[in-house]
Protein backbone atom coordinates (compact mmCIF):
# COMPACT_ATOMS: atom_id res chain seq x y z
CA UNK A 1 0.00 0.00 0.00
CA UNK A 2 2.18 2.67 -1.31
CA UNK A 3 0.97 6.20 -0.69
CA UNK A 4 2.41 8.75 -3.00
CA UNK A 5 2.21 12.45 -2.49
CA UNK A 6 1.79 15.19 -5.05
CA UNK A 7 5.37 15.03 -6.16
CA UNK A 8 5.19 11.31 -6.68
CA UNK A 9 7.54 10.59 -3.80
CA UNK A 10 6.75 7.67 -1.58
CA UNK A 11 5.38 8.64 1.83
CA UNK A 12 5.89 6.63 5.01
CA UNK A 13 3.06 4.43 6.27
CA UNK A 14 2.58 6.55 9.39
CA UNK A 15 1.12 9.91 8.59
CA UNK A 16 2.74 12.91 10.19
CA UNK A 17 -0.21 15.08 11.10
CA UNK A 18 2.03 17.70 12.57
CA UNK A 19 4.26 18.32 9.61
CA UNK A 20 2.72 20.68 7.16
CA UNK A 21 3.06 21.80 3.62
CA UNK A 22 6.53 21.53 2.33
CA UNK A 23 7.62 19.41 5.24
CA UNK A 24 5.26 16.58 4.35
CA UNK A 25 6.66 15.68 1.02
CA UNK A 26 8.71 16.87 -1.82
CA UNK A 27 12.43 17.03 -2.10
CA UNK A 28 12.87 18.48 1.37
CA UNK A 29 11.35 15.50 3.06
CA UNK A 30 13.62 13.83 5.55
CA UNK A 31 12.93 10.33 6.73
CA UNK A 32 12.31 10.45 10.47
CA UNK A 33 13.87 7.45 12.18
CA UNK A 34 10.93 6.92 14.49
CA UNK A 35 8.35 7.14 11.76
CA UNK A 36 8.15 3.43 11.12
CA UNK A 37 7.50 2.25 14.66
CA UNK A 38 4.05 2.43 16.25
CA UNK A 39 3.55 5.40 18.59
CA UNK A 40 4.59 4.68 22.19
CA UNK A 41 1.87 4.31 24.84
CA UNK A 42 0.68 7.37 26.70
CA UNK A 43 2.68 7.75 29.87
CA UNK A 44 1.97 10.95 31.74
CA UNK A 45 5.32 10.99 33.54
CA UNK A 46 7.31 10.81 30.32
CA UNK A 47 5.08 13.39 28.65
CA UNK A 48 5.70 15.76 31.54
CA UNK A 49 9.43 15.08 31.36
CA UNK A 50 9.45 15.89 27.65
CA UNK A 51 7.47 19.03 28.36
CA UNK A 52 10.07 20.10 30.93
CA UNK A 53 12.85 19.49 28.45
CA UNK A 54 10.93 21.49 25.89
CA UNK A 55 10.61 24.39 28.33
CA UNK A 56 14.39 24.56 28.76
CA UNK A 57 14.94 24.14 25.04
CA UNK A 58 12.58 27.02 24.27
CA UNK A 59 14.20 29.27 26.87
CA UNK A 60 17.64 28.71 25.36
CA UNK A 61 16.54 28.97 21.75
CA UNK A 62 14.53 32.11 22.32
CA UNK A 63 17.60 34.02 23.47
CA UNK A 64 18.51 34.90 19.90
CA UNK A 65 14.86 35.93 19.33
CA UNK A 66 14.75 34.03 16.08
CA UNK A 67 11.38 32.22 15.99
CA UNK A 68 11.50 28.51 16.77
CA UNK A 69 10.27 26.07 14.20
CA UNK A 70 7.94 23.25 15.12
CA UNK A 71 10.08 20.82 13.15
CA UNK A 72 13.10 21.72 15.27
CA UNK A 73 11.16 21.06 18.43
CA UNK A 74 10.03 17.70 17.12
CA UNK A 75 13.51 16.72 16.00
CA UNK A 76 15.47 17.84 19.07
CA UNK A 77 13.17 17.27 22.01
CA UNK A 78 9.98 15.38 21.34
CA UNK A 79 11.29 12.79 18.92
CA UNK A 80 9.21 9.63 19.09
CA UNK A 81 6.34 11.25 21.00
CA UNK A 82 5.29 13.40 18.07
CA UNK A 83 1.78 11.91 18.29
CA UNK A 84 1.37 13.70 21.59
CA UNK A 85 2.80 16.97 20.34
CA UNK A 86 -0.28 19.10 21.12
CA UNK A 87 -0.40 17.82 24.67
CA UNK A 88 3.33 18.24 25.28
CA UNK A 89 3.31 21.76 23.94
CA UNK A 90 0.27 22.63 26.04
CA UNK A 91 2.00 21.33 29.16
CA UNK A 92 5.15 23.23 28.28
CA UNK A 93 3.32 26.49 27.75
CA UNK A 94 1.44 25.98 31.02
CA UNK A 95 4.75 25.51 32.84
CA UNK A 96 6.22 28.55 31.10
CA UNK A 97 3.30 30.66 32.22
CA UNK A 98 3.30 29.39 35.76
CA UNK A 99 7.04 29.69 36.31
CA UNK A 100 8.28 32.46 34.05
CA UNK A 101 5.14 34.36 33.10
CA UNK A 102 5.88 34.06 29.39
CA UNK A 103 3.48 32.93 26.72
CA UNK A 104 4.33 30.56 23.93
CA UNK A 105 2.63 31.95 20.86
CA UNK A 106 2.39 30.61 17.37
CA UNK A 107 2.98 33.62 15.18
CA UNK A 108 2.87 31.89 11.82
CA UNK A 109 0.34 29.12 11.46
CA UNK A 110 1.51 28.18 7.99
CA UNK A 111 5.15 27.63 8.75
CA UNK A 112 4.57 26.86 12.47
CA UNK A 113 6.85 29.41 14.04
CA UNK A 114 6.73 30.00 17.77
CA UNK A 115 7.98 32.79 19.99
CA UNK A 116 8.02 33.52 23.69
CA UNK A 117 6.39 36.72 24.86
CA UNK A 118 6.07 38.08 28.34
CA UNK A 119 2.48 38.11 29.57
CA UNK A 120 0.72 41.10 31.03
CA UNK A 121 1.68 44.63 30.20
CA UNK A 122 5.17 45.78 29.42
CA UNK A 123 7.86 44.82 31.87
CA UNK A 124 7.78 48.44 32.85
CA UNK A 125 10.66 49.47 34.96
CA UNK A 126 13.14 46.84 33.97
CA UNK A 127 15.83 47.66 36.42
CA UNK A 128 18.54 49.35 34.51
CA UNK A 129 19.22 48.97 30.84
CA UNK A 130 20.24 45.77 29.17
CA UNK A 131 22.19 45.42 25.97
CA UNK A 132 18.96 45.06 24.02
CA UNK A 133 17.36 48.33 25.09
CA UNK A 134 19.00 50.66 22.52
CA UNK A 135 18.07 48.28 19.72
CA UNK A 136 14.47 48.16 20.87
CA UNK A 137 14.41 51.93 21.01
CA UNK A 138 15.57 52.12 17.41
CA UNK A 139 13.01 49.51 16.46
CA UNK A 140 10.24 51.57 18.06
CA UNK A 141 11.22 54.55 15.94
CA UNK A 142 11.15 52.48 12.75
CA UNK A 143 7.82 50.86 13.63
CA UNK A 144 6.25 54.25 14.27
CA UNK A 145 7.50 55.58 10.94
CA UNK A 146 6.06 52.57 9.14
CA UNK A 147 2.71 52.86 10.89
CA UNK A 148 2.28 56.58 10.46
CA UNK A 149 3.22 56.21 6.82
CA UNK A 150 0.34 53.82 6.18
CA UNK A 151 1.76 50.45 7.31
CA UNK A 152 4.59 50.46 4.84
CA UNK A 153 7.62 52.60 4.31
CA UNK A 154 10.15 52.86 1.56
CA UNK A 155 13.75 52.24 2.51
CA UNK A 156 14.61 55.81 1.54
CA UNK A 157 12.07 57.21 3.98
CA UNK A 158 13.49 55.13 6.81
CA UNK A 159 17.01 56.26 6.08
CA UNK A 160 15.85 59.88 6.08
CA UNK A 161 14.61 59.46 9.61
CA UNK A 162 17.68 57.56 10.74
CA UNK A 163 19.95 60.21 9.28
CA UNK A 164 18.30 62.71 11.60
CA UNK A 165 19.25 60.45 14.49
CA UNK A 166 22.82 60.36 13.28
CA UNK A 167 22.75 56.86 11.80
CA UNK A 168 24.07 56.31 8.32
CA UNK A 169 24.27 53.18 6.17
CA UNK A 170 27.77 51.82 5.99
CA UNK A 171 28.97 53.69 9.07
CA UNK A 172 29.51 51.55 12.17
CA UNK A 173 27.71 52.75 15.27
CA UNK A 174 29.02 52.11 18.76
CA UNK A 175 25.77 50.60 20.00
CA UNK A 176 24.20 49.16 16.89
CA UNK A 177 27.16 48.16 14.81
CA UNK A 178 26.37 48.08 11.13
CA UNK A 179 22.91 49.70 11.12
CA UNK A 180 21.90 48.48 7.68
CA UNK A 181 22.64 44.89 8.63
CA UNK A 182 20.70 45.35 11.84
CA UNK A 183 17.50 46.54 10.24
CA UNK A 184 17.53 44.47 7.07
CA UNK A 185 18.95 41.26 8.46
CA UNK A 186 18.74 40.87 12.23
CA UNK A 187 15.35 42.48 12.77
CA UNK A 188 13.95 40.57 9.79
CA UNK A 189 15.23 37.24 11.11
CA UNK A 190 13.73 38.03 14.50
CA UNK A 191 10.46 38.85 12.70
CA UNK A 192 10.33 42.39 14.02
CA UNK A 193 10.33 43.82 10.50
CA UNK A 194 9.67 42.62 7.00
CA UNK A 195 11.88 43.74 4.16
CA UNK A 196 10.31 43.17 0.78
CA UNK A 197 11.19 44.20 -2.69
CA UNK A 198 8.78 46.58 -4.37
CA UNK A 199 7.38 44.61 -7.33
CA UNK A 200 8.48 45.73 -10.76
CA UNK A 201 10.98 48.25 -9.54
CA UNK A 202 14.15 48.84 -11.48
CA UNK A 203 16.64 49.53 -9.94
CA UNK A 204 15.30 47.30 -7.15
CA UNK A 205 13.69 49.21 -4.31
CA UNK A 206 12.72 47.79 -0.99
CA UNK A 207 10.00 48.45 1.55
CA UNK A 208 9.65 47.85 5.26
CA UNK A 209 6.59 46.39 6.92
CA UNK A 210 5.76 45.40 10.46
CA UNK A 211 6.89 41.87 11.26
CA UNK A 212 4.77 39.21 12.94
CA UNK A 213 6.62 39.52 16.24
CA UNK A 214 5.96 43.26 16.38
CA UNK A 215 2.22 42.67 16.22
CA UNK A 216 2.48 40.41 19.24
CA UNK A 217 4.99 42.28 21.35
CA UNK A 218 3.53 45.72 20.93
CA UNK A 219 0.38 47.20 19.51
CA UNK A 220 -0.47 49.93 17.05
CA UNK A 221 -1.97 51.95 19.87
CA UNK A 222 1.27 51.93 21.84
CA UNK A 223 3.26 52.92 18.78
CA UNK A 224 0.80 55.71 18.00
CA UNK A 225 1.08 57.01 21.53
CA UNK A 226 4.87 56.93 21.26
CA UNK A 227 4.83 58.86 17.98
CA UNK A 228 2.43 61.43 19.39
CA UNK A 229 4.51 61.84 22.53
CA UNK A 230 7.51 62.65 20.35
CA UNK A 231 5.51 65.13 18.27
CA UNK A 232 3.69 66.46 21.33
CA UNK A 233 0.30 65.82 19.78
CA UNK A 234 -2.83 64.02 20.81
CA UNK A 235 -3.31 60.54 19.33
CA UNK A 236 -6.78 61.48 18.13
CA UNK A 237 -5.23 64.10 15.85
CA UNK A 238 -4.15 61.30 13.60
CA UNK A 239 -7.67 60.13 12.87
CA UNK A 240 -7.02 57.34 10.38
CA UNK A 241 -4.21 55.83 12.41
CA UNK A 242 -6.23 56.14 15.58
CA UNK A 243 -9.13 54.26 14.03
CA UNK A 244 -6.79 51.56 12.82
CA UNK A 245 -5.18 51.25 16.22
CA UNK A 246 -8.54 50.91 17.95
CA UNK A 247 -9.67 48.31 15.44
CA UNK A 248 -6.52 46.33 16.02
CA UNK A 249 -7.06 46.40 19.78
CA UNK A 250 -10.59 45.12 19.43
CA UNK A 251 -9.39 42.31 17.18
CA UNK A 252 -6.57 41.40 19.55
CA UNK A 253 -8.99 41.27 22.48
CA UNK A 254 -11.34 38.99 20.54
CA UNK A 255 -8.47 36.68 19.62
CA UNK A 256 -7.33 36.57 23.23
CA UNK A 257 -10.81 35.65 24.39
CA UNK A 258 -11.12 32.93 21.77
CA UNK A 259 -7.72 31.51 22.72
CA UNK A 260 -8.61 31.53 26.39
CA UNK A 261 -11.86 29.71 25.67
CA UNK A 262 -10.15 27.11 23.52
CA UNK A 263 -7.57 26.65 26.25
CA UNK A 264 -10.25 26.22 28.92
CA UNK A 265 -12.04 23.68 26.78
CA UNK A 266 -8.82 21.77 26.22
CA UNK A 267 -8.11 21.75 29.93
CA UNK A 268 -11.61 20.53 30.68
CA UNK A 269 -11.24 17.74 28.18
CA UNK A 270 -7.88 16.73 29.64
CA UNK A 271 -9.34 16.79 33.10
CA UNK A 272 -12.17 14.59 31.95
CA UNK A 273 -9.71 12.10 30.45
CA UNK A 274 -7.74 12.12 33.67
CA UNK A 275 -10.87 11.73 35.76
CA UNK A 276 -11.97 8.85 33.58
CA UNK A 277 -8.71 6.97 34.12
CA UNK A 278 -8.87 7.58 37.85
CA UNK A 279 -12.44 6.32 38.21
CA UNK A 280 -12.24 3.51 35.70
CA UNK A 281 -13.33 0.73 38.01
CA UNK A 282 -16.13 2.72 39.50
CA UNK A 283 -17.34 3.63 36.02
CA UNK A 284 -17.28 0.01 34.93
CA UNK A 285 -19.23 -1.04 37.98
CA UNK A 286 -21.73 1.71 37.45
CA UNK A 287 -22.28 0.84 33.79
CA UNK A 288 -22.89 -2.78 34.72
CA UNK A 289 -25.27 -1.77 37.45
CA UNK A 290 -27.11 0.53 35.11
CA UNK A 291 -27.53 -2.27 32.58
CA UNK A 292 -28.78 -4.59 35.28
CA UNK A 293 -31.19 -1.94 36.49
CA UNK A 294 -32.53 -1.45 32.98
CA UNK A 295 -33.00 -5.15 32.53
CA UNK A 296 -34.69 -5.41 35.88
CA UNK A 297 -37.13 -2.59 35.16
CA UNK A 298 -37.89 -4.12 31.81
CA UNK A 299 -38.44 -7.45 33.45
CA UNK A 300 -40.65 -5.85 36.06
CA UNK A 301 -42.74 -4.17 33.37
CA UNK A 302 -43.11 -7.46 31.62
CA UNK A 303 -44.04 -9.14 34.88
CA UNK A 304 -46.63 -6.46 35.57
CA UNK A 305 -48.17 -6.85 32.14
CA UNK A 306 -48.22 -10.59 32.43
CA UNK A 307 -49.86 -10.38 35.87
CA UNK A 308 -52.41 -7.94 34.54
CA UNK A 309 -53.17 -10.19 31.65
CA UNK A 310 -53.59 -13.20 33.88
CA UNK A 311 -55.64 -11.21 36.35
CA UNK A 312 -57.92 -9.88 33.68
CA UNK A 313 -58.32 -13.34 32.28
CA UNK A 314 -59.23 -14.65 35.71
CA UNK A 315 -61.68 -11.81 36.24
CA UNK A 316 -63.30 -12.40 32.97
CA UNK A 317 -63.46 -16.06 33.58
CA UNK A 318 -65.16 -15.48 36.92
CA UNK A 319 -67.87 -13.21 35.61
CA UNK A 320 -71.34 -14.53 36.12
CA UNK A 321 -72.17 -14.46 32.48
CA UNK A 322 -69.21 -16.73 31.68
CA UNK A 323 -69.88 -19.30 34.21
Amino acid sequence: MDRRNDYGYRMPPVQFKHLIGHERGGRNYRWNPWGQRPPPPRDVAILQERANKLVKYLLVKDQTKIPIKRSDMLKDVIQEYDEYFPEIIERASYALEKMFRVNLKEIDKQSSLYILISTKESSAGILGTTKDTPKLGLLMVILSVIFMNGNKANEAVIWEVLRKLGLRPGVRHSLFGEVRKLITDEFVKQKYLEYKRVPNSRPPEYEFFWGLRSYHETSKMKVLKFACKVQKKDPKDWAAQYREAVEMEVQAAAVAVAEAEARAEWFQHQYWLYWRTQHQHWLQWWTQFYRWLRRWTEHRCWLQRWTEQRCSLWWWSHQPWCL
Binding site: K56, Y94, M99, R101, L127, G128, T129
Partner: protein, 253 residues
Protein backbone atom coordinates in the same frame (compact mmCIF):
# COMPACT_ATOMS: atom_id res chain seq x y z
CA UNK B 1 -2.83 18.69 35.09
CA UNK B 2 0.56 18.53 36.65
CA UNK B 3 2.13 21.62 35.17
CA UNK B 4 4.37 23.10 37.83
CA UNK B 5 4.77 21.00 40.92
CA UNK B 6 4.13 23.01 44.04
CA UNK B 7 5.82 20.87 46.59
CA UNK B 8 7.33 23.29 49.03
CA UNK B 9 6.98 26.75 47.55
CA UNK B 10 4.26 28.77 45.95
CA UNK B 11 5.10 31.17 43.22
CA UNK B 12 3.39 34.50 42.97
CA UNK B 13 3.69 37.23 40.39
CA UNK B 14 6.43 38.82 42.48
CA UNK B 15 8.57 35.70 42.18
CA UNK B 16 7.85 35.43 38.46
CA UNK B 17 8.84 38.99 37.71
CA UNK B 18 11.99 38.55 39.77
CA UNK B 19 12.88 35.44 37.83
CA UNK B 20 12.20 37.11 34.51
CA UNK B 21 14.37 40.09 35.34
CA UNK B 22 17.17 37.95 36.72
CA UNK B 23 17.14 35.99 33.49
CA UNK B 24 17.31 39.19 31.46
CA UNK B 25 20.46 40.30 33.23
CA UNK B 26 22.01 36.87 33.48
CA UNK B 27 24.13 37.37 36.55
CA UNK B 28 23.73 39.95 39.31
CA UNK B 29 25.61 40.90 42.45
CA UNK B 30 23.98 40.51 45.83
CA UNK B 31 23.12 44.16 46.35
CA UNK B 32 21.58 44.33 42.89
CA UNK B 33 19.54 41.23 43.67
CA UNK B 34 18.23 42.78 46.89
CA UNK B 35 17.30 45.92 45.04
CA UNK B 36 15.56 43.86 42.36
CA UNK B 37 13.57 42.00 44.99
CA UNK B 38 12.38 45.24 46.58
CA UNK B 39 11.48 46.57 43.15
CA UNK B 40 9.39 43.49 42.34
CA UNK B 41 7.54 43.78 45.62
CA UNK B 42 6.86 47.43 44.97
CA UNK B 43 5.50 46.81 41.48
CA UNK B 44 3.08 44.09 42.47
CA UNK B 45 2.19 44.06 46.10
CA UNK B 46 3.16 46.90 48.38
CA UNK B 47 1.58 45.42 51.47
CA UNK B 48 3.12 41.98 51.67
CA UNK B 49 6.22 41.82 53.85
CA UNK B 50 9.46 41.48 51.96
CA UNK B 51 10.69 37.94 52.44
CA UNK B 52 14.25 37.19 53.38
CA UNK B 53 16.34 36.76 50.28
CA UNK B 54 17.29 33.14 51.02
CA UNK B 55 13.70 32.10 51.58
CA UNK B 56 12.59 34.02 48.52
CA UNK B 57 15.12 32.26 46.34
CA UNK B 58 14.48 28.91 47.97
CA UNK B 59 10.80 29.31 47.10
CA UNK B 60 11.62 29.91 43.47
CA UNK B 61 14.10 27.04 43.36
CA UNK B 62 11.60 24.57 44.75
CA UNK B 63 9.25 25.36 41.87
CA UNK B 64 12.01 25.21 39.26
CA UNK B 65 13.26 21.88 40.57
CA UNK B 66 11.38 19.88 37.98
CA UNK B 67 13.21 21.71 35.20
CA UNK B 68 16.65 21.07 36.70
CA UNK B 69 17.51 24.73 36.85
CA UNK B 70 18.31 26.74 39.93
CA UNK B 71 19.28 30.19 41.11
CA UNK B 72 22.72 29.58 42.52
CA UNK B 73 24.77 31.79 44.72
CA UNK B 74 28.44 31.99 44.00
CA UNK B 75 31.47 34.03 44.96
CA UNK B 76 33.70 35.76 42.43
CA UNK B 77 37.17 34.34 42.53
CA UNK B 78 39.08 37.58 42.36
CA UNK B 79 37.47 39.69 45.06
CA UNK B 80 34.92 37.54 46.84
CA UNK B 81 31.77 39.38 45.82
CA UNK B 82 28.65 37.24 46.19
CA UNK B 83 26.72 36.87 42.95
CA UNK B 84 23.53 35.14 41.89
CA UNK B 85 22.87 33.47 38.56
CA UNK B 86 20.37 31.09 37.03
CA UNK B 87 22.18 27.89 36.16
CA UNK B 88 21.34 24.65 34.43
CA UNK B 89 21.92 21.65 36.66
CA UNK B 90 21.50 18.96 34.04
CA UNK B 91 24.89 17.68 33.00
CA UNK B 92 24.36 17.98 29.28
CA UNK B 93 25.62 21.54 29.37
CA UNK B 94 27.66 21.70 26.21
CA UNK B 95 25.27 19.78 24.03
CA UNK B 96 22.39 22.02 25.07
CA UNK B 97 24.39 25.06 24.05
CA UNK B 98 24.61 23.52 20.63
CA UNK B 99 21.39 25.24 19.74
CA UNK B 100 22.86 28.69 20.32
CA UNK B 101 26.38 28.55 18.95
CA UNK B 102 27.90 27.22 15.78
CA UNK B 103 29.88 24.00 15.81
CA UNK B 104 33.27 25.69 15.48
CA UNK B 105 32.41 28.21 18.19
CA UNK B 106 31.62 25.35 20.55
CA UNK B 107 34.88 23.69 19.62
CA UNK B 108 36.78 26.88 20.38
CA UNK B 109 35.06 27.15 23.71
CA UNK B 110 35.92 23.57 24.61
CA UNK B 111 39.56 24.08 23.70
CA UNK B 112 39.74 27.40 25.54
CA UNK B 113 38.20 25.74 28.58
CA UNK B 114 40.86 23.07 28.47
CA UNK B 115 43.61 25.64 28.25
CA UNK B 116 42.24 27.60 31.18
CA UNK B 117 41.96 24.54 33.37
CA UNK B 118 45.41 23.28 32.47
CA UNK B 119 47.13 26.59 32.99
CA UNK B 120 48.86 27.45 36.25
CA UNK B 121 47.33 30.85 36.87
CA UNK B 122 43.86 30.08 35.63
CA UNK B 123 44.33 32.41 32.69
CA UNK B 124 44.88 31.50 29.10
CA UNK B 125 46.44 34.19 26.97
CA UNK B 126 44.63 35.18 23.85
CA UNK B 127 47.56 34.15 21.68
CA UNK B 128 47.38 30.59 22.96
CA UNK B 129 43.70 30.42 22.28
CA UNK B 130 44.18 31.88 18.84
CA UNK B 131 46.82 29.33 18.06
CA UNK B 132 44.55 26.50 18.95
CA UNK B 133 41.89 27.29 16.42
CA UNK B 134 43.36 29.44 13.73
CA UNK B 135 40.41 29.92 11.45
CA UNK B 136 38.31 31.71 14.06
CA UNK B 137 39.03 35.23 15.24
CA UNK B 138 39.32 35.42 19.02
CA UNK B 139 35.94 37.00 19.65
CA UNK B 140 34.42 37.47 23.08
CA UNK B 141 31.92 34.76 23.97
CA UNK B 142 28.39 36.04 24.13
CA UNK B 143 27.14 34.51 27.31
CA UNK B 144 29.83 36.02 29.53
CA UNK B 145 31.46 32.63 29.81
CA UNK B 146 34.90 34.13 29.23
CA UNK B 147 36.15 37.29 30.87
CA UNK B 148 39.00 39.26 29.48
CA UNK B 149 41.80 40.71 31.57
CA UNK B 150 44.63 42.40 29.68
CA UNK B 151 44.64 39.99 26.77
CA UNK B 152 44.10 36.94 28.90
CA UNK B 153 40.95 34.90 29.21
CA UNK B 154 39.53 33.17 32.22
CA UNK B 155 36.20 31.74 33.23
CA UNK B 156 33.51 34.03 34.57
CA UNK B 157 31.95 33.02 37.88
CA UNK B 158 28.72 32.21 36.12
CA UNK B 159 30.48 29.65 33.96
CA UNK B 160 32.10 28.10 37.03
CA UNK B 161 28.74 27.88 38.81
CA UNK B 162 27.06 26.24 35.89
CA UNK B 163 29.80 23.98 34.64
CA UNK B 164 31.45 22.87 37.86
CA UNK B 165 29.90 19.43 37.69
CA UNK B 166 30.69 19.05 34.02
CA UNK B 167 34.32 20.18 34.46
CA UNK B 168 34.88 17.81 37.36
CA UNK B 169 33.57 14.92 35.29
CA UNK B 170 35.37 15.75 32.07
CA UNK B 171 38.79 16.72 33.39
CA UNK B 172 39.14 14.79 36.66
CA UNK B 173 42.96 14.86 36.71
CA UNK B 174 43.59 18.40 35.56
CA UNK B 175 41.00 20.02 37.79
CA UNK B 176 42.20 22.00 40.84
CA UNK B 177 40.38 22.08 44.13
CA UNK B 178 40.48 24.70 46.87
CA UNK B 179 41.79 23.36 50.15
CA UNK B 180 39.32 25.31 52.28
CA UNK B 181 35.95 25.08 50.55
CA UNK B 182 36.72 22.06 48.31
CA UNK B 183 35.16 23.85 45.38
CA UNK B 184 36.46 24.10 41.86
CA UNK B 185 39.44 26.43 41.59
CA UNK B 186 40.39 28.40 38.51
CA UNK B 187 42.14 31.43 39.97
CA UNK B 188 43.79 31.34 43.34
CA UNK B 189 46.93 31.27 45.40
CA UNK B 190 49.08 28.23 45.95
CA UNK B 191 51.58 27.27 48.56
CA UNK B 192 55.06 26.94 47.13
CA UNK B 193 56.21 24.03 49.26
CA UNK B 194 53.29 21.63 49.32
CA UNK B 195 51.32 22.86 46.34
CA UNK B 196 47.86 23.17 47.88
CA UNK B 197 45.65 25.86 46.42
CA UNK B 198 43.11 28.24 47.86
CA UNK B 199 40.66 30.77 46.46
CA UNK B 200 41.53 34.39 47.12
CA UNK B 201 38.37 35.02 49.17
CA UNK B 202 39.00 31.76 51.05
CA UNK B 203 42.54 32.92 51.83
CA UNK B 204 41.16 36.25 53.04
CA UNK B 205 38.69 34.59 55.35
CA UNK B 206 41.12 31.95 56.66
CA UNK B 207 43.93 34.35 57.44
CA UNK B 208 41.65 37.12 58.66
CA UNK B 209 43.47 39.18 61.26
CA UNK B 210 46.30 36.67 61.43
CA UNK B 211 49.67 38.41 61.58
CA UNK B 212 51.64 35.29 60.74
CA UNK B 213 49.87 33.46 57.96
CA UNK B 214 50.96 29.85 57.72
CA UNK B 215 49.98 27.19 55.24
CA UNK B 216 47.37 24.87 56.77
CA UNK B 217 48.98 21.81 55.23
CA UNK B 218 52.76 22.11 55.64
CA UNK B 219 52.87 24.97 58.17
CA UNK B 220 55.30 26.97 56.06
CA UNK B 221 55.01 30.72 55.81
CA UNK B 222 52.35 31.75 53.35
CA UNK B 223 54.30 33.54 50.62
CA UNK B 224 51.58 35.63 49.01
CA UNK B 225 49.84 38.82 49.99
CA UNK B 226 46.64 38.22 51.94
CA UNK B 227 43.73 40.00 50.28
CA UNK B 228 41.04 41.78 52.25
CA UNK B 229 37.75 40.15 53.10
CA UNK B 230 34.97 41.53 50.94
CA UNK B 231 32.81 43.91 52.91
CA UNK B 232 29.61 44.98 51.17
CA UNK B 233 29.13 48.02 53.43
CA UNK B 234 32.54 49.40 52.64
CA UNK B 235 31.99 48.79 48.97
CA UNK B 236 28.76 50.78 48.93
CA UNK B 237 30.19 53.56 51.04
CA UNK B 238 33.28 53.95 48.90
CA UNK B 239 31.22 55.34 46.08
CA UNK B 240 28.32 54.49 43.89
CA UNK B 241 30.41 55.28 40.89
CA UNK B 242 32.34 52.07 40.95
CA UNK B 243 32.98 50.82 37.44
CA UNK B 244 30.32 48.33 36.56
CA UNK B 245 29.80 46.42 33.37
CA UNK B 246 26.55 48.04 32.33
CA UNK B 247 25.06 51.37 33.25
CA UNK B 248 22.46 50.77 35.90
CA UNK B 249 20.30 53.86 35.59
CA UNK B 250 16.71 52.72 36.01
CA UNK B 251 14.62 53.65 33.05
CA UNK B 252 10.91 53.32 32.47
CA UNK B 253 9.79 52.12 29.07
Amino acid sequence: MQGSSRRTGTMTDVHRRFLQLLMTHGVLEEWEVKRLQKHCYKVHDCNAPVEKLEDFIHNINSVLESLYIEIKKGVTEDDGRPIYALVNLATTAISKMASDFAENELDLFRKALELIIDSETGFASSTNILNVVDQLKGKKMRKKEAEQKEGEFTLHTRAILEMEQHIRETYPDAVKICNICHGLLIQGQSCETCGIRMHLPCVAKYFQSNSEPRCPNCNDYWPHEIPEVFDPEKERGAGLSKPSRKSLRPRQH
